[in-house]
């Protein structure tokens, strides 16, 4: 099989053996990836372990490819919470905080940092040590909470945002779906009358423009 075909078909799955480049190693479904031990900016190492385990149940590694652990989603979330998003620097936070109709969205005072701290309490400090079936049950119990919806959204963001934000490590998320990264031109492809999936090896924004890019979380 040609490399191009391999990449073109990643989204479909090959049943059993999938080869993704994670770090310098190949990823094989079922193989465990060591827990992230990076220096965290916001989480304690225990909080990070809980969040990492929860994200991994939301987006697990399986025979369709790697998941949140491999993409280092927890690093992404940690940086977002440490940055301006985490303390609502760009949200309107003047009082009074009132309950309102659903059409007005989240009206609470709690920042994303507060929401996570409380969510981790609810999940339990032992969450990462539990069997996956027990973990799933605990997550199902909070499925409709603001915290869970945020955690799920952030897990997807950590899988598929540019690696400059700390997740999508080695672009495993982009390889998984076949997204080529922020390429500057599709002039030669966009008007083709029959669509051939365009699935080339992804490149990151820093690779595309050839210089470092600072995410908002680093400002």
């Amino acid at each position: 099989m040609k490399r191009r075909d391999l990449l073109a078909r990643t989204a479909i799955g090959f049943g059993g053996l999938l080869v993704y480049n994670v770090g310098s190693r190949n990823f094989v479904a079922g193989e465990t990836t060591p827990t992230v031990s990076a220096g965290f900016r916001f989480f304690s190492s225990q909080e990070a372990a809980v969040i990492e385990a929860a994200c991994d149940r939301i987006f697990p590694a399986d025979d369709s490819g790697p998941g949140a652990r491999e993409a280092r989603v927890v690093v992404y979330i940690d940086r977002q919470l440490h940055g301006p998003f985490g303390n609502d620097r760009y949200r309107y936070t003047k009082e009074p905080f009132v309950d309102s109709v659903p059409e007005h969205g989240y009206q609470g005072k709690a920042t994303p940092r507060d929401v996570y701290r409380e969510g981790i309490q609810v999940l339990g400090s032992d969450f990462h040590t539990l069997d996956s079936a027990v973990q799933d049950e605990r997550l199902r119990n909070i499925e409709n909470t603001y915290f869970f919806r945020m955690l799920r959204t952030h897990t997807i963001q950590g899988m598929f945002s540019d690696p400059l934000h700390g997740g999508n490590s080695n672009m495993v998320g982009w390889q998984l779906v076949g997204y080529p990264g922020p390429l500057m031109s599709y002039r030669d492809q966009v008007f083709k009358t029959s669509v051939e999936p365009f699935r080339q090896k992804p490149v990151s924004l820093e690779q595309v423009i050839g210089s470092p890019v600072k995410g908002w979380e680093d400002e």
Partner: protein, 593 residues
């Protein structure tokens, strides 16, 4: 918070013209004035400078710009509040939702999608048109649509100027009265063809085009302000063609193909000695005395407050801020929805929309594309067809599909309804991967009629960073909008079916009530509307304030009601206002109407 003590504010040197806001309208007014007169012009922009092309390349990041909305105004400083009716308590829009206002020089003109359509001729005389066509009893209660005070024919030459300035790409459907198949045959007659040909058609819009033709509609390429080929405009600005990278909406263009104030207006302005721009300057009040504007007061980036005297004041700071400044400065007569008296704040409109999601059995490369790259039908854009009118629908909308470029954060997880039981875990992940990059969207851009009960005033509770009251929107949908969306949704589903989609369903709609969380489009209009009489409008048709003749209020705030996708109309009206100011007012100051 600076103290509001006018006596202690430093009084700056008088300028001829001060313009509040450095977006499309403010910079276009500035450009027309400084290139055609010797008047000195100062633009006060509260955001920062615009990025250049390489700066925009470094912003090709879906998370920061599409999700976190890094290019938008900071809501922590100022937002709006919203309530559904005067009986309700308003709540602030705490995070971005139904609209997203661009920050900095160029404003929303930097991050817009680039769809550049004209309004229909009957839009400008909508009150007269509806009265002539329909019995009053057939029209909804509280309908407040008005005529604009000028006609499509009067605006038409300015539409041409706006299209030529931006290099709009399209196919004419009505050229000097001659209908042309393949263009929008329902559009008003245009005196000049589009400056550039339409972009070629991409795959999904091609399916839409074929299906629409089969169903008897008249599909046409969406007019786009992103170049299909290189172009030099009448001002001498040259730009290259689009690369179809897909980073258009919520992004500035990294090759300059999309029309933006930073590329089309700033280069002409910076070389003029009579032009000055100050960023980081937040205007708090228009200062008036004896029916004349004397200037504005503003806070600069370091928190110092100044008085800027000027002979002419132009508000060009988008609908929300234009209306808020007028209300805060006590200029004009605030609208009272109970008595129907007053004009300032009335006729608030947004837009109506109904989307359908389609899933195909193959990958579509949905991450490629360009803002307005797509196909539309205008067959139900104006008056609703007779059978729908009988069912209570007055006006319709434009139905379209676009390949604008959608990144993985937006597209991951789209799948047919009922595919999985939960939206997380292995089963969901596999289904998401199976359906990844197979989705397309049909949307509608629909007219939003004006009603007596939809209006703006100052919020009594919430304030901005300087303690000034926020603008309060009182806005809700009526049965009219819900029926309108249902009519359009039905057509969307019939087209989706004919396109051969494997699965399709209606998704976002107007719903039971207006939601400040669901993105509708950054098209908020009204509040300082244009008209032919001071009794029912805030500005005359030259966008000059009825009561204060040296004050001009330009932008979407002047729309009596909205037909959707307002940018081209806003720019055309700005050209028309600038002509009046330069050719009439400057020669003989005073009320022009």
């Amino acid at each position: 918070v600076p103290k509001r003590n006018m006596g202690k504010m430093e009084r700056l040197k008088q300028v001829d013209v001060v313009i509040v806001g450095g977006g499309w309208t403010g910079l276009l007014m500035a450009k027309e004035i400084v290139t055609r007169t010797s008047l000195s012009v100062l633009v006060l922009e509260r955001g920062g400078s615009a990025a250049d092309a390489s700066g925009y390349a470094a912003q090709m990041d879906e998370l920061d710009y599409n999700v976190r909305l890094r290019g938008m105004q900071n809501l922590a400083d100022e937002t709006v509040t919203h309530r559904h009716s005067i009986r309700d308590q308003a709540a602030p829009m705490r995070q971005y939702g139904s609209f997203q206002a661009g920050g900095g020089v160029g404003g929303s003109g930097e991050h817009w999608t680039g769809v550049a359509t004209r309004f229909l001729p009957d839009q400008f005389v909508l009150q007269t048109h509806l009265r002539e066509k329909f019995a009053p009893a057939k029209l909804p209660e509280g309908l407040a649509v008005q005529d604009w005070g000028f006609t499509y024919d009067e605006l038409e030459p300015y539409y041409c100027r706006a299209e030529q300035m931006m290099g709009v790409c399209g196919k004419s459907g009505n050229l000097r009265g001659k209908l042309i198949e393949g263009g929008n045959i329902h559009e008003g007659s245009r005196s000049q063809d589009y400056p550039l040909p339409a972009h070629p058609t991409t795959y999904v819009p091609g399916l839409f085009q074929k299906a629409a033709l089969e169903l008897g509609y008249h599909p046409y390429p969406i007019p786009s302000a992103t170049l299909s080929q290189s172009y030099r405009n009448p001002d001498g600005i040259s730009r290259g063609a689009c690369f179809y990278c897909g980073y258009c909406s919520r992004h500035g263009c990294m090759v300059g193909a999309k029309a933006q104030p930073s590329t089309l207006l700033m280069p002409l302005l910076v070389e003029r000695k009579n032009f000055h721009l100050r960023t980081g300057c937040w205007v708090r009040r228009v200062l008036t005395h004896d029916g004349k504007a004397e200037g504005v007061s503003f806070v600069d980036a370091s928190g110092n407050e100044f008085v800027q005297p000027a002979d002419i004041v132009i508000l060009a700071s988008w609908t929300i801020n234009n209306v808020r400044l007028l209300l805060s400065s006590k200029v004009g007569h605030p609208y009272d929805p109970v008595t129907g008296t007053g004009t300032l704040g009335k006729n608030l409109t947004h837009q109506v929309g109904q989307s359908a999601e389609l899933l195909f059995d193959k990958s579509l490369n949905g991450f490629m594309g360009s803002g307005g790259l797509g196909v539309a039908i205008g067959d139900v854009a104006g008056d609703a067809p007779a059978s729908d009118f009988a069912a209570g629908v007055i006006r319709g909308g434009t139905i379209q599909t676009m390949t604008s470029g959608e990144g993985p954060l937006a597209s991951f997880g789209k799948m047919p309804a009922g595919e999985v039981k939960t939206n997380w875990g292995s089963e969901w992940k596999k289904a998401s991967l199976r359906w990844y990059d197979k989705s397309a969207t049909i949307t509608s851009r629909d007219m939003h009629l004006a009603y007596r009960h939809n209006f703006m005033d100052l919020d009594p509770t919430y304030s901005d960073r300087y303690g000034d009251p926020l603008l309060r929107l009182t806005l809700d949908w009526t049965d009219q909008e819900r029926r309108q969306a249902a009519m359009l949704g039905k057509i969307e589903l019939s087209i989706a079916k004919a396109m051969g989609a494997k699965s399709f369903r209606l998704t976002e709609s107007v719903g039971a009530h207006y939601s400040s969380t669901m993105y509708q489009g950054t098209h908020i209009q009204g509040g300082a509307i244009t008209g032919s009489s001071r009794q029912d409008s805030v500005v005359n048709t030259w966008l000059q304030h009825w009561d204060v003749s040296n004050l001009w209020v330009v932008g979407g705030s002047s729309f009596p009601q909205n037909e959707c996708t307002p940018t081209l109309t806003i720019i055309s009206m700005t050209y028309r206002a600038a002509d009046a100011l330069v050719e009439k007012y400057v020669k003989r100051p005073g009320a022009l109407a």
